[in-house]
Symmetry: C3
Subunit: 139 residues, 3 copies
């Protein structure tokens, strides 16, 4: 059993940028010597989150719309009163979705569905440089 550490770095735009990480995660997993175990993903920061989705522009738009219904940008947020950076909605969205995710690694391969991709959701209201901490734990 070992732990391997990878770091993925990407630039994001504002307006709920949803970025497909699957190829980057998959490349790291293939370069890994671990065949059986799991990939653990985490994004540091309080205005981004991780999940999986079919990475298709229609459903990406649908997910953005659903998130905007849950935590609309133009509502009153107390965070904005105190900090003046206008991203109260970003914090709320990130907390609801969550920063961590794992994907099983079986026989050296990520076991996702055919139409299932790993995504970073950046909810902040300005472009950011994001880090995703990827760890492979296994044999």
């Amino acid at each position: 059993m070992t732990v391997e550490l990878y770091e993925i770095t990407i630039g994001t735009s504002k307006d709920t940028d949803i970025i497909d990480l699957t190829a980057m995660v998959g490349e790291n997993a293939e370069s890994s010597t671990i065949q059986e175990g799991a990939v653990f993903l985490f994004t540091p920061g309080s205005t981004a989150a991780l999940t999986t989705i079919e990475y298709e522009s229609g459903v990406i738009k649908d997910l953005k719309d659903a998130i905007a219904r849950i935590a609309p940008e133009n509502l009153y947020y107390e965070h904005n009163e105190r900090w003046g950076d206008g991203n109260g909605y970003s914090h709320v969205r990130a907390s609801l979705l969550g920063p961590s995710l794992h994907i099983p690694l079986v026989n050296g391969r990520l076991t996702m569905g055919t139409w299932q991709q790993i995504v970073l959701l950046d909810f902040d209201n300005r472009p950011r440089k994001r880090r995703i901490i990827m760890q492979v734990i296994g044999d």
Copy 2:
């Protein structure tokens, strides 16, 4: 430290089928030689998710209602325009809930609350055969 792999397979119905996996996960955990570690669960596919709940028909209905308020079936979804399979709402729901979950294994037992069960939520609009990848990592 070792990794053990189990696969749970179940048939689901449409209309947001919520299925109690606790007994199946528990049986695998008991057959495991690992006493201290964690059970990692993941469902491949972009229209299903995992969480825990008190598996009681009232609150199962309440959760379905809450999810239907967040991503109603009969809204306009761009995914449906492109793919014509009518399950845009299923994708959105699955992404919001998330495909991965872990449960600690302490002294050979799952450490859930008395009224807490592990569930698969299948949001697709047709019956599916679902796989849940279960891995036990520990000593």
Copy 3:
């Protein structure tokens, strides 16, 4: 590779108590001999959840408001009809947020963002004593 087990116990109040666990998790992580790996957190029980947030009173209030829009306390819940404990909304909220979370441990340190804290959300409608199972898995 080893597994270390810690348990955090805290008293909560009703009315969606959101409690910062970062210092407690950090102390345990520092006392750990594991330098590379991950911290796995889980809260037993069906009316609490875990996530991360900037622990600032404005955004804590904003998150509570968002959760109250998703699963309002004073809606009709079938759970309440059957059990009479009036906490149907608590169960729904906990299932949507989820009970498990992991944080990477790199070079002996938790890799969260500067403004990112680990929180327990207790949604129950009465004060509770909560346990958080913390496991460190790694080298």
